[in-house]
């Protein structure tokens, strides 16, 4: 279904580029809004996943094999706009590295496969799932309707893409037919191109796409990987095609995360140069009996945690050094802004000056006692 270079005339491929550029811009804008910069590697991974998944040859009943285009699958997993970008990039790399599809035809291929495939696949899937949910207050449909929705969506997605490919190719004799004898570009008219492309897609390729998409999603569901449900609003939005462009994308990562500079760090150490590395600890929130956090300190003896409420937090650390087993408890006072207010220092650290003063006094007394005893001993010797 990848159109190579030379099959499309300049008006067709130029038109496809002109259509795709705003679509890419819109997709990039939508993705920037939903996918954080930190998730760019994830998007690249999604691209490669779709690329590699297309390479898996699957055995079909009867002994033949086939592979999927995966557009609807990727759209269901990543959301339509992320899928447009991921599959467009996969097509770009395929065209440059493998020669699958032409460079001038990238616009047309991306329109047929990435855009139409992704939007049709995701739209039909979302529509059926939302219709199955029958309202936001009802539970999302069970696995079977979702899989059926995915099957229909992937079947329609690949066939829509194939149909548009056939139309674009079949229009070439009409647009550029035989000024210098023979067709200048793709030589077959619509009445040949459409059946030649659509018959295999409607019968075999579409069914294969649907079967493989269902098979893979079955395992995704078994693995409890999330496929976000579609709200009733989604149905309304999807009723008209224009509204599909503004529908919120389905980002179906099982776990989201970002990195924030919020943590509070406690350093635990035996001496300034001897950190309590990899020591067990338990952290209790204010008034908690169950630990808020458990684990081990890092290599440098740090415990990092993010307080979720103000009050006195208690940290207990157990560590073993060359001098035996140690345990320490510290109270950390968290203020209303969830910042550090104060913390209880270890006994020696709190009364450092007092301890030092007493130590010096004891030391001076010791020196005096030693001097006095030696002086007394000397006098005694003289008495004998």
């Amino acid at each position: 279904m990848h159109i190579p270079d030379g099959y499309l005339g300049p008006a067709t491929y130029g038109g496809a580029w002109a259509v795709m550029v705003p679509i890419w811009r819109h997709a990039a804008k939508r993705v920037r809004g939903t996918v954080r910069t930190s998730e760019i590697p994830y998007l690249a991974m999604g691209t490669v996943f779709s690329f590699v998944a297309m390479m898996f040859m699957l055995p079909l009943p009867g002994g033949t094999t086939g592979h999927i285009s995966g557009t609807a699958l990727v759209a269901i997993l990543l959301g339509p706009w992320a899928a447009v970008i991921a599959i467009s990039i996969a097509l770009f790399i395929q065209a440059l590295v493998l020669g699958d599809g032409g460079v001038t035809a990238i616009g047309a291929n991306c329109f047929n496969i990435a855009f139409v495939g992704a939007v049709t696949g995701w739209g039909v899937y979302a529509l059926i799932v939302a219709a199955g949910a029958r309202g936001v207050d009802r539970p999302a449909p069970s696995a079977f309707p979702r899989l059926a929705a995915a099957a229909v969506a992937s079947y329609l997605a690949i066939n829509m893409g194939a149909f548009l490919t056939a139309v674009e190719l079949g229009c070439q004799p009409l647009l550029y037919g035989g000024t210098h004898g023979g067709a200048a570009y793709f030589p077959f008219p619509l009445k040949v191109a459409i059946p030649a492309i659509m018959i295999p897609h409607l019968t075999t390729v579409g069914a294969l796409e649907a079967a493989v998409t269902v098979l893979i999603l079955t395992f995704f569901q078994k693995a409890e990987m999330s496929m976000r449900g579609v709200s009733k609003t989604g149905v309304t939005v999807l009723v008209c095609a224009a509204a599909m462009l503004t529908a919120s994308p389905l980002l179906a990562h099982s776990i989201h995360y970002d990195v924030q500079q919020k943590a509070m760090a406690v350093r635990v150490y035996y001496s300034e140069k001897d950190a309590a590395s990899y020591s067990k600890y338990e952290l209790y929130g204010p008034g908690d009996k169950e630990p808020h956090q458990i684990g081990r300190t890092d290599k440098n003896g740090f415990v990092g945690f993010v307080p979720d409420r103000p009050g006195a937090w208690k940290l207990q650390v157990w560590g073993e050094s060359s001098h035996g087993f140690h345990g320490v408890t510290t109270d950390i006072e968290v203020n209303q802004a969830l910042g550090l207010q104060s913390f209880s220092k270890p006994l020696v650290a709190t009364y450092t000056k007092l301890v030092t003063g007493i130590s010096i006094a004891f030391g001076l007394f010791g020196i005096y006692a030693l001097w006095a005893s030696r002086a007394g001993a000397a006098k005694g010797e003289e008495r004998y």
Binding site: P4, D5, Y7, L8, P10, Y13, W24, A28, T37, S38, I40, P41, Y42, L43, A44, M45, G46, T47, V48, F49, F51, V52, A53, M55, F56, M57, P59, P61, G63, T64, T65, H67, I85, I89, F92, I93, L96, V97, L98, G99, T104, P173, G178, H180, G181, G182, A183, A184, Y185, P187, F188, V192, V212, L215, I216, F219, F220, A223, M225, I255
Partner: protein, 307 residues
């Protein structure tokens, strides 16, 4: 060329799955693995060739990307054989000037050209799809036929227009493929991706393209390992249903692995100071030779356009 890793050179014969008694051999996976290994092979080959030293290798990536884009458009605009043949000769000269292995490269170029330029449009050569001046007859039927709206004439002949169309398509496909391969074999992929910024492609896109290209090789290796792990545990053939389930399950696993790998890579990026801002190093400043080359490319383009 740099020696390829051993696993890429392994060329065991591939057997299609056996259709009998609902049992298939997992060699169907071998096909997928070898398709993937072809990607890695091309990647290594492009990487290796792009590192060579020639005047054309040293040119700025932007100049080469612009040149290829311009010539791809010119190739698509030409409607007669002579200028297409002239462009073919010009591209061949570029390969020779780049000191590349022309024979090996043109085997690939011609293979693609034969499939998409000759085999696919082959029926267009005859008069049952479009009229034209008969050159020589092929089949003479008892009478003309009308089949589901298609007309089959009594005498099926090869037409001049049909041959011209196929010759044009063959030249156009081979020229386009040759230009793309020349770009890939003289320019590192990362430079090509960076050169796209010239067309106002956002940095985010460029970064995704670059990362995708790199991850492709990582994942190809992962898929190969998954396959070998399964293969090493098999004593005989598996049932078709089990094989399908297994392949689908592996894809699911691959997706999870994708997520895990992403998390690892992101941690590595953060550890190296990534703060969320995409900042790509640009290409070097264009030298005088790059400007001369750009001018020459433009001149050649105008010549071919006016031909």
């Amino acid at each position: 060329m740099t020696a390829l890793p051993e696993f890429l050179l392994d060329r065991h014969p591939l057997h299609p799955p056996g259709p009998s008694k609902h049992v298939v051999s997992v060699t169907f996976l071998d096909k997928g693995i070898h398709r993937l290994s072809r990607i890695v092979q091309s990647g290594y080959a492009h990487w290796d060739l792009a590192q060579r030293d020639s005047v054309l290798h040293r040119l700025d990536a932007r100049v080469k990307v612009l040149f290829v884009a311009l010539f791809l458009v010119i190739v698509s605009l030409k409607r007669t054989i002579a200028p297409e043949a002239g462009i073919a000769a010009f591209v061949l000269a570029l390969f020779l000037a780049s000191r590349l292995d022309v024979l090996t490269i043109y085997k690939r170029v011609l293979a693609v050209g034969l499939v998409f330029g000759v085999l696919v449009p082959f029926p267009a050569m005859f008069n049952f799809l479009s009229d034209g001046e008969p050159l020589f007859p092929v089949v003479h039927l008892a009478r003309p036929y009308e089949l589901w709206g298609y007309h089959l004439p009594q005498s099926i002949v090869v037409t001049r227009e049909g041959l011209h169309g196929i010759a044009m398509l063959f030249l156009r496909v081979t020229n386009s493929v040759a230009l793309t391969i020349w770009l890939m074999d003289t320019t590192p992929f990362t430079d090509i991706a960076k050169a796209l910024r010239m067309f106002r492609v956002p940095d985010t896109f460029v970064m995704v393209i670059t990362l995708s290209y790199k991850y492709l090789f990582v994942f190809t290796r992962t898929v190969e390992e998954i396959h070998l792990a399964k293969k090493s545990r098999l004593l005989g053939k598996v049932r078709g249903r089990e094989a399908r389930s297994w392949a689908a399950e592996r894809m699911t696993f691959l997706y999870r692995k994708t997520q895990m790998r992403y998390e690892e890579i992101f941690k590595v990026m953060v550890a190296r100071g990534f703060t969320g801002d995409v900042k790509l190093y640009g290409l070097r400043r264009a030298a005088a030779s790059d400007w001369w080359a750009a001018g020459a490319a433009l001149g050649a383009g105008v010549l071919f356009l006016r031909w």
